[in-house]
Structures are given as structure tokens and as C-alpha cells.
């Protein structure tokens, strides 16, 4: 039963991204942001993007909520490069947040961390053996990835300072399947990787003016914590599965910083910087294709125009977002890195009295790297629905 429940969770958070050959290296492409609002703002979720104060990913922003909040996001990603095209989409993340007295907050959720979805075909070759010409070809596909089940909380120490913590339990399964054809024979191999690990992240928020919120500064530091390992099992066609000894689940340390600044009463500018580095070399067994794991950086800027309360002009009823980002991914080959540049657009539609909101985020980017001459074009569309409720908020007795 436990096994089935885990698979349901994996299904919910695993099949979220289009396949890319880069997913065959390391842990695959690490996800940027799981929610539609952050997608539209080009951020990773450290700085607020739902409005100028709230992000589902940063616990220090949760204390500003009035209502208990449930958010779900759907993502669809399309990757194309030359004649190659791939697309996939489904529910990507869920977050449940409970603010407590405007001073504390707790929340939990689930989100994808990385994906290893790919389908590769190698060129056919021939080899002369003992006077025979043997034709050889291979195909390689992968599915699965790493997801996180997180819980966090925050505390407004003072009106200006808030701190938060987030604990991520990383889990996931990745299946790699290789089919090799040698002349009339074909053979199949498979490897299954089961990931387990934990992250601990600390968050800090500073607001210079708690009422006007002209400037808010955010920082977070995420480190691997506790026990983290990978269990690999090799599968062969004719012999029994061969469980391998546990290997190290090399996890990165991530430092993030960001600001959001009120330019005009309803217009806010945000900037965010993320630096990620792996403390040790990656276990090469994880690679389906050759590649190295190193450090990664990400920079983004965005503009947010918030809803104008009380306006009769329908244009003022929505949140508008636009953003730009540039990132270098953590995987490379022979110093030939993988970079991505893109921009985004977003729209938030608040409705109801309990801070409900429907968000749309569209991000278009180009990814240039070591596996293909033609850059990959990536289009991601995310839709998020946030529902507020008085659930767990004590009401007045009549």
C-alpha cells in the first residue's frame, strides 16, 4: 500500500517536463520555478510574484497571508530543436499554507526538483567481426526524476525582519532503459535509481517600511542535510536484478538573494540571483551521456504591475508580470557549458474575497549547449490556481 501511495505521489510530480537530451546528464535539468506566477516573473520563487508580497516558495512571505491558502499549478513544456520536438504537461506542484496571527506561518507542499526524461537514438554503425559485417545501433530512454515534499514555517521577528526555514525531503525514482541491437540480436538493460535526501534551507526577509513596503530584500541559503544516498539496481535480460551498494547523492549548496522595489504605487521591480555549487564530483554512474557537474548561476529581473483596488477600469483588475532571465546550468562537457536565456510574461486574475487567484505564466527561452549544434527552444506554459479559505482560521462565534 505504501508502495502504491509513493507511486501516486511520483506520478503527480514527475511527468512535468518535456524531454531533452540534457536530462541524460547528471540529475537532468533542475527546475526553475514550479508555480505559474514565478514563471511569469522569471524568478525562482524567492522574491514575491503572486503579488508584491507573496511567493508560494518562500516561507518568509507566508506570514503576510490572511487566509489559509492552497495552490496548485499545471505546467506544460515544449522543447524543440531543429526537426526534433517534444512536449509534455501535467500537474506540477501543490502548496498548502496556513498563516497564524499574521506573525507565524506554516506550510507544506510538493514540487519537482529535476527531471530525467529523455529519448535518444544513436546512429547506426557497422563493425567487421570474424568476416561478418555486424550492424549496430542503440537507443536510450529515461524517465523519472527527483521531487520534493517540503514543509516550512516563518516568524516575523520584528516588523522589519522575518526568518523562515524550509525542510525538503527529496525522493524519486529514475529508470534508464537501453536497447542495443547487434545484427539480429537485441538486448535490453535497465538501471533504476532511487533517490533519498534532505535539504535544509534558511530564509531571511527585510522590509524597510512594513506599511509602504517600498523595498524588500530576501535571502536564502540551502544546504544538504542529514542522510542522502542513491540506491541503484541494475536489470539485465537473462540474469537476476543486481542491487548495487548505496552511492552518494551529491547535492548542491544554493545561495539566493533578491530584492523587490516599489517603483510606483502599483509597479514593482524585482531582481534575483541564484548561485548553486556541488561540493564534490558527481557519481559518474548517474550519467547516461557523458557530462560533468559543476556550478550554476541564475539571474533574473522582472516587473510586476499589481491589481488596483477599487478601480472600475477592468485593466486594473489584474496582476501583470514580465521578466527576463539568464542561467547557466550545472552540467557541462569539457568546459562547454549549457546556458539558457529567456523572457516571460504573466497574468494574475484575483477573484473572490479570500485572496483566490488564477495565474498564467508563459516563458520562452533558448538553451544552447554541448549536445546539439542547434539551440533548444523551450516554451513553458503554467497555470496556477490559488484558493483561500478560512480553514484552520478561528472564526467568531455567533
Amino acid at each position: 500500500m505504501k508502495f502504491r501511495r509513493n507511486h501516486w505521489l511520483i506520478l503527480l510530480t514527475t511527468i512535468v517536463t518535456a524531454q531533452s537530451p540534457y536530462n541524460a546528464v547528471g540529475y537532468g535539468i533542475l527546475m526553475d520555478a514550479p508555480d505559474a506566477a514565478s514563471v511569469g516573473f522569471s524568478s525562482t520563487g524567492l522574491i514575491p510574484s503572486m503579488d508584491s508580497r507573496f511567493s508560494t516558495s518562500n516561507p518568509t512571505t507566508w506570514t503576510d497571508l490572511v487566509f489559509t491558502n492552497l495552490t496548485g499549478n499545471y505546467s506544460n513544456q515544449d522543447v524543440s530543436s531543429g526537426d526534433y520536438r517534444s512536449g509534455f504537461g501535467t500537474l506540477s506542484s501543490v502548496t498548502f499554507i496556513v498563516p497564524i496571527s499574521g506573525k507565524y506561518s506554516i506550510g507544506l507542499g510538493m514540487a519537482p526538483v529535476s527531471r530525467k526524461i529523455f529519448d535518444l537514438v544513436g546512429d547506426s554503425t557497422t563493425v567487421i567481426f570474424s568476416g561478418d559485417t555486424l550492424s549496430m545501433s542503440k537507443s536510450l530512454d529515461g524517465s523519472g526524476g527527483i521531487s520534493t515534499l517540503f514543509g516550512g514555517g516563518a516568524w516575523n521577528i520584528t516588523e522589519n525582519h522575518a526568518i523562515g526555514a524550509r525542510f525538503d525531503f527529496l525522493f524519486g525514482v529514475y529508470n534508464e532503459h537501453t536497447v542495443s541491437h547487434i545484427d539480429y540480436r537485441s538486448s535490453e538493460y535497465a538501471r533504476r535509481f532511487a533517490y533519498k535526501g534532505t535539504f535544509l534551507a534558511g530564509y531571511y526577509r527585510f522590509v524597510n517600511d512594513p506599511k509602504a513596503r517600498r523595498l524588500s530584500v530576501f535571502a536564502s541559503f540551502q544546504v544538504p542535510f542529514g542522510e542522502y544516498y542513491i540506491k541503484r539496481t541494475d536489470f539485465f535480460e537473462f540474469i537476476d536484478p543486481d542491487p548495487q551498494p548505496r552511492t552518494e547523492f551529491v547535492l548542491p549548496t544554493t545561495l539566493s538573494g533578491g530584492v523587490i522595489y516599489r517603483l510606483l504605487p502599483t509597479i514593482h521591480a524585482g531582481a534575483e540571483f541564484v548561485s548553486r555549487s556541488f561540493n564534490s564530483r558527481q557519481n559518474p554512474d548517474l550519467n547516461s551521456l557523458d557530462g560533468n557537474m559543476g556550478s550554476a548561476t541564475r539571474f533574473s529581473v522582472g516587473l510586476l504591475r499589481e491589481k488596483v483596488f477599487g478601480s472600475r477600469d477592468w485593466v486594473d483588475w489584474f496582476h501583470y508580470r514580465v521578466g527576463f532571465f539568464k542561467r547557466s546550468h550545472y552540467i557541462d562537457r569539457l568546459k562547454d557549458g549549457l546556458t539558457e536565456v529567456g523572457f516571460s510574461l504573466g497574468l494574475g486574475i484575483p477573484f473572490g474575497l479570500t485572496q483566490n487567484q488564477l495565474d498564467f505564466g508563459l516563458r520562452v527561452s533558448k538553451r544552447q549547449g554541448f549536445l546539439s549544434v542547434t539551440p533548444e527552444s523551450i516554451t513553458q506554459l503554467s497555470v496556477g490556481l490559488t484558493l483561500g479559505d478560512l480553514w484552520m482560521v478561528k472564526g467568531k462565534r455567533r
Binding site: L12, I15, A18, Q19, S20, P21, L70, G72, Y74, D78, S81, D83, Y84, R85, S86, G87, F88, G89, T90, L91, V94, F118, D119, L120, V121, G122, D123, V127, F129, S130, D132, L134, M136, K138, S139, L140, D141, T178, S180, I182, D183, R185, S187, Y189, D234, F236, E237, F238, I239, D285, S288, L289, D290, L371, S372, V383, L385, L387, D389, W391
Partner: protein, 409 residues
């Protein structure tokens, strides 16, 4: 259901999946799969001899050739109990064996070929009986004499005439059916070939001439008629020359059908360092033959096959003579090689599946296939008297060689 739960369900209904996937073409040369080539010339050979068990052939042999004694063949016919019916009176009959039209050898003028008959023993089995396991044949039994006749079609038949009393005796199966033993003298200069019951034409037969008994109340006309009963099973009990008889050279390994010669070959695959999880892409076993020491029409008409052994070989000495084949082999398709005939004087057998099975320890009918060596058998030849000699040393023709192309994940 609470409003909150309904909202959760609505959220879950967003699990809309849209997908479109093409495979990405890239170089997969650097994947974890690596290909390797390995070969070995280190071999062990063992030639041994078993009684040839050759029931179910399309021919019945009788005589002696190249030291192979085929002076006895066991034959069974369809039941002829019907001849015991009271309204049938048997006049006479004969057993008939038709000589193969391709036979061009000597036909004995003074016919000394006989056919005895006795009650069938329960141990008789067409596909299992051979000269070493028919000690149930009794010493004293009635024998029929024979003569050769040529019919208007030009076919030569060996006939054993029967009088009515003998036919009636043979029709009486109350104490069991009859088994017939076709016999020739031991030292003869011929090896006759007759069509057997497996042949599509001219099978052995028992032809009876009879008429219907007329009674006072029977107003129907009585008339002569003929009734034919075909042969149902037959096996020639070949007795090959003993391996130690001097006819065979112990420096070669031999393979033959009527000679009962089998060779076990064991390449040293530890030299190849193939891991258990490897996939064999192609494995080829090359064996040079010695034309001079082989006996046959042409080597390229002989077909061979290799099998995985079930039992280990403890005695690798040349020339063991066994009363039954104790070195049993697996019969699954993946536990044997494809069949092949030599090209020139080199036999190249594709042992890919066979080697894969022993490397990976695949299971055949719940039994793990271990690497105990390969049993080489001649499975087809122009005549069953052919045998071939395998060279185990290096010569101008080459040397025994196992080449393997494999992939390691």
C-alpha cells in the same frame, strides 16, 4: 463533502496530460555500454562413442560397410488380427521390403537373408533401441527365408513367402503382437538399403491373399482378394567399429551418425573474461577438419550442431566407449547453436545464443545451463555412414578458435 475537498478535487482534475515526443538523434558512443572482442585457441576435446540409436529413418539398412555392422533390423507391422475373422480364409502371403532405387551395390545371389519373428517385448522403442539395449531378443525363434524379385516397374523387392498356417499364426495376437527381426549373415559385402515405414513410398508391407468362407446360409459370392498391412516402425541396430579398433586416429576428434561418434569441445572461456551480465553480439566457433581422415562424400554435405551439456565431463580421455550417452545435453533452442556445414575444411558454427546461455546461466526447464563444454553432433549427412575428423592442433587449415563479440553494460 466539504467545500474544501471539492476544491481539492477540482485542482486534481487539472491533471491534464498532453504529450508529443520524438527521439533525439545523438551520438551514443559514450554510453555505459562498451563493446569488446575476445578469442581463444585454448581448447579441450573429448571424442567418445555411443551405440547409434537411429530409429525413424527413411531407410532400413542390412549388411556391412566400412566396418559398420547392420546385420539386424527390427520391424513392426500394422495389426493383422483381422485375418482371424471366421469368414476369412487365408491362402498365402509374403512380407516385402523394396530396395531403394538409388542403391547401386551388390545384391546377393544366394539369398541368406532371413526374418525371424517373436512376441514384441515391452522394452522395444523405435527411437531408443540400439544394439546394446536389445538383450531381450530371444535366441530361438522361427525364421522366414527370402528371395529377391523384380517387378514390372523395375523395383527390386526382398520377399519372405508365407503359407496360410504361418499367416494365421502371425494373425494371432492373443499373447501379444509380433516383432520381426530382419537379419543378414555377419560377413557380407553389401549394405542393402530398403525403404522404411517413414518413407513416403514403398514402405515394408505384409501382403496376404485370401478368400471369403462360404456357408450354407451365405448366398453371396465367394471371391479371392488381397489385403495389405504396412510396416509401422523399424530400426536398424548398427554396430559401429570400436573406437579402439585402429580405424580411428586418436589425434583427431570424430563425429558421425552410424558410427556413434560424438565430440565434446570445451574452449577456455575464462580466458575471454566475459562478465555474466554481458550480451553476446556474435560468437563463432571455428573448427578445422581433416579431409583425409574423414569418411564421406563431401565435407560440405555434413551438417553439425553444438549443444550445451547437462552433465560435466570428469574424464577427458579420448576414445571412451559407452553403452549409452551419459553426457546428456540441453535441448532448448537457446542452448544450442545453429546448424552449419564446413566451408572448405573449416566448420564455423554460430554459437551466439549458446554462449549467451552459458555465460548468463539461463534456465532450461528449471535447470540452469552451466558451462560444461559443448557437445558437437553430426545432425545431417548424405549417408549415415559418413564421419568427420576434427583437428585439434594448428595446421595449414587453421586451428580451433572461438571468437566472441560482446557488449558489457
Amino acid at each position: 463533502m466539504s467545500r474544501f475537498l471539492i476544491r481539492v478535487l477540482i485542482l486534481s482534475s487539472m491533471l491534464l496530460v498532453s504529450c508529443e515526443n520524438d527521439a533525439f538523434v545523438t551520438s551514443l558512443d559514450h554510453t555505459l555500454l562498451t563493446t569488446h572482442e575476445a578469442s581463444t585457441t585454448s581448447f579441450r576435446f573429448k571424442t567418445y562413442q555411443v551405440p547409434p540409436t537411429l530409429g525413424g529413418l527413411q531407410r532400413i539398412y542390412l549388411g556391412k560397410k566400412d566396418g559398420i555392422d547392420a546385420s539386424r533390423s527390427l520391424v513392426e507391422f500394422e495389426s493383422h488380427e483381422i485375418l482371424q475373422w471366421s469368414n476369412i480364409a487365408v491362402d498365402s502371403g509374403h512380407f516385402q521390403f523394396t530396395l531403394d532405387t538409388t542403391y547401386s551395390g551388390l545384391i546377393p545371389e544366394v539369398n541368406t537373408i532371413t526374418m525371424g519373428y517373436f512376441r514384441r517385448d515391452s522394452n522395444f522403442a523405435e527411437l531408443e533401441s540400439n544394439y546394446s539395449n536389445v538383450d531381450w531378443i530371444i535366441n530361438d525363434y522361427p525364421k522366414l527365408s527370402s528371395s529377391f524379385v523384380t517387378d514390372s516397374m523395375g523395383l527390386t523387392h526382398l520377399r519372405f513367402p508365407l503359407d496360410s498356417a504361418t499367416v494365421e499364426t502371425l494373425a494371432d495376437t492373443a499373447e501379444g503382437s509380433w516383432l520381426y527381426l530382419l537379419e543378414s549373415p555377419e560377413d557380407v559385402g553389401y549394405m542393402l538399403q530398403f525403404y522404411a515405414s517413414e518413407s513416403p513410398v514403398h514402405q515394408p508391407l505384409l501382403r496376404t491373399f485370401l478368400h471369403r468362407n462360404s456357408s450354407e446360409s451365405d448366398t453371396s459370392e465367394s471371391g479371392d482378394s488381397t489385403r495389405v498391412f504396412l510396416g509401422s516402425t523399424d530400426v536398424t541396430l548398427f554396430v559401429p567399429p570400436n573406437l579402439s579398433s585402429g580405424q580411428f586416429d586418436s589425434s583427431f576428434s570424430y563425429l558421425g551418425v552410424a558410427t556413434g561418434l560424438v565430440t565434446i569441445v570445451k574452449p577456455d572461456i575464462t580466458e575471454l573474461n566475459i562478465p555474466r551480465e554481458a550480451t553476446i553480439g556474435r560468437a563463432k566457433l571455428s573448427l578445422p577438419f581433416d579431409v583425409e581422415s574423414s569418411a564421406g562424400v563431401a565435407l560440405d554435405s555434413l551438417y553439425f550442431q553444438a549443444y550445451a551439456l547437462e552433465d560435466s565431463v570428469s574424464d577427458w580421455s579420448w576414445g571412451e566407449v559407452l553403452t549409452s550417452d551419459t553426457y546428456e545435453h540441453h535441448s532448448a533452442t537457446f542452448a544450442r547453436s545453429s546448424s552449419s556445414a564446413p566451408m572448405g575444411s573449416i566448420l564455423k558454427l554460430d554459437v551466439t545464443e549458446l554462449l549467451q546461455s552459458v555465460i548468463s546461466g539461463r534456465k532450461d526447464d528449471e535447470t540452469t545451463i552451466f558451462y560444461l563444454g559443448f557437445k558437437l553432433k553430426m545432425i545431417n549427412s548424405k549417408t549415415i555412414f559418413d564421419y568427420a575428423a576434427v583437428r585439434s592442433d594448428s595446421s595449414a587449415a587453421g586451428q580451433p578458435l572461438l571468437e566472441v563479440f560482446f557488449e558489457v553494460p
